[in-house]
């Protein structure tokens, strides 16, 4: 069995007439950490949203953990349950407490007994260091705390893959570190991660590979050190010079 947990081949996606993703080929092995970067509008979000089928692709194939994502994939919910996702805008459920945010899906989707779900949730909240906020509501937390709760919420489903879509770009600078720390810890624990981010420090620290996207295409893909030391394409160089 191959340990390629995500396999995207020849994938194309359009929004109406506009082609957002062009001929994407991407394989991700288990336990690898991939950072995706690129200018705004290059299709990074769309790409990772395709991996748990929040967006549908029109051509090519996406295989996640052995299941191909197509229109008639029966148990798309089962696949999604194995792919955790953290959003730029946190997207916590404002009507539920932090603890309930974390236990909701385990209880109702995984049918976990409430008590176990709460124990699990507290464990994960402890890991991201907000266990003491468990009974508060999202609106009462700072942005950094909310984003860490969102990470814990995704982890409570015990996913095999974690997707991050610019998790720190809606945060004030002083809160970015606490979220990145949580992500670094997660990476060290061996999670398979695909992270869209402009935090190049984070990329250098944990990423195995970096992907650079522009205009819907994967322009460059390289080992992290190689990527920063010897970027091949001119566009990558330009982008790096702007961002570093």
């Amino acid at each position: 069995m191959s340990d390629k947990i995500i396999q995207i081949t020849e994938m194309n996606k359009w929004f109406g007439d506009f082609q957002v993703l062009k001929n994407i080929n991407l394989e991700v092995e288990k336990n690898k950490k991939i950072v995706v970067c690129g200018p705004s509008g290059s299709g990074k979000s769309t790409l990772i949203r395709c991996i748990n089928r929040l967006e549908e692709h029109q051509q090519g194939s996406i295989i996640v953990d052995g299941n191909e994502l197509t229109e008639d994939t029966k148990d798309i919910e089962k696949i999604r349950a194995e792919v955790g996702m953290v959003f730029q805008q946190f997207n916590l459920f404002p009507h539920l407490s932090i603890l309930d945010n974390c236990t909701l899906a385990p209880i109702w989707v995984k049918k976990m007994p409430k008590k176990n779900a709460e124990e699990l949730a507290l464990q994960h909240l402890e890991k991201v260091q907000i266990a003491d906020q468990a009974s508060k509501y999202p609106g009462q937390l700072s942005g950094g705390q909310q984003q860490r709760c969102a990470i814990a919420r995704a982890l409570c489903m015990e996913p095999k893959i974690m997707l991050f879509d610019e998790p720190t770009s809606a945060l004030d600078p002083e809160m970015i570190k606490e979220v990145l720390d949580a992500m670094v810890n997660l990476a060290k624990a061996g999670m398979t991660m695909i992270v869209v981010t402009h935090e190049m420090g984070f990329a250098k620290e944990v990423a195995d590979e970096v992907i650079f996207m522009d205009e819907g295409m994967i322009v460059e893909r390289a080992e992290t050190k190689e990527f920063f030391a010897h970027p091949k394409s001119d566009r990558t160089k330009l982008f790096l010079s702007q961002i570093l």
Binding site: R80, N91, A150, R153, M157
Partner: protein, 480 residues
Amino acid sequence: MNKLNFLQPDKNNFNTYLYTGVILVALSIFIVFLNSFFNKDIISFLPGSISFFLPLILGFIGLHLIRIDYSGLKFLDAINKNINTNNFNAFLSLLIVFVVIKSLPPLLSWFILDANIAGDSKDVCTGTGACWTYIKIWFNRFMYGMYPNAEQWRINLSFIALAFLGTIGFFATEKFKKYLTLYYVAVYPVIAFFFIFFFISGGPIFFDFSYGIIAAVISIIIGFFIPSKFKMYYFIIVPITLYILLKYVFFYEELIELGKLESLEWVETGAWGGLSLTFIVSFFCLIFCFPIGLFLSLGRRSDFPIIKYFSIGMIEFWRGVPLITVLFMSSVMFPMFLPEDMFIDKLVRVIIAISLFEAAYVAEVIRGGLQALPRGQYDAAKSLGMGYWKMHILVILPQALKLVIPGIANTFLALVKDTPLIFVVGLLEIVGMLNLAKTNPEWLGFAMEGYVFASVLFFIICYAMSKYSYNLEQKYKTER
């Protein structure tokens, strides 16, 4: 002593300003009061227009003088903050106070001073005020319609019982709190229906109590030996199966006779009426129109074309026709499509019609709430592996419904106030009864009293609902 600056009152000559101001305001109110209650115009010596505006001018100056920030007097600060923030507000406040004082005497005299309530015929009503005797004599009809007097205890009993069962939520202990929603959504309406069907209507009793008791006793005895894990399923399935077996296989005439309960005297729905009918119609329409509206609003956003266009069609159709024609059609046209021997009670048809009509409005209100939610909520729910129903029940609807509580309350209030229209099919709730009573030759000329009475009742009902919705809003308020 500091210099007095009457254009800009401040704290320095606090007492001077306060006393002058209060005296001026009091004087202005006193003038209007005398004029309105005792018909005395103590400033009539002044030329016409000045005497007319003098109270306003005096009060205006007075309010200006007492407008001192942070005076330290609680009462004065409250006045300044609420009705005397600036010249314009002071003017409006004065105007309102004067209008109230002016209109009190005629209202008082009509409602109380010159009104009659004694006696039991219209002859006692000689004064210029209201004739509450009329309401008193017709009270029974206004409450119960043509429901026979001797049977009215059935309505009272049902309503008291239902009111009591309705307040159970307040007494529920922690352990039962989680079942409350289920109770109110599923159990309570069924109980209400049974009360209305068996008690108020006097519907036939199908249940054989002797078999019922036997089935219950047997299943309880066997129940002791059932492991607690299956107890719930056991008690749902076995008693009903036993009962059906007894009734259709083991048929024993005398046993049936023994446990037979006579049903109450049948009172056809045409005789129901008055306020009790308002309650019955409103209650069931509220209960039905909400879930129908909910499904229509979800349907309208569905990806399946059939469901989507069906929902749009339903919503636009019911919103597009006047309620009065819907009611008319429900009683005249609808039966034509039914098989000859099939008969659906008028009241039931009316309730269905109003429910569908209001459901269209509820649907659009809820759709507004659904649209107000950011797409991220859907994304987050989906990414956690929730399917359509889990996503909606656990994440989307709790938030959307919370947002639309005021809109739903609005629709519900409109529904309650629409119920009088059922007169077009011959059902007379309270306003219908009023219209009937006012044309009674014995009691001509008291329409006003009737409408005032009905308005007060409707106001109480609607205000209570509005207050309740506001409480709900506060209860479910969380920071976003």
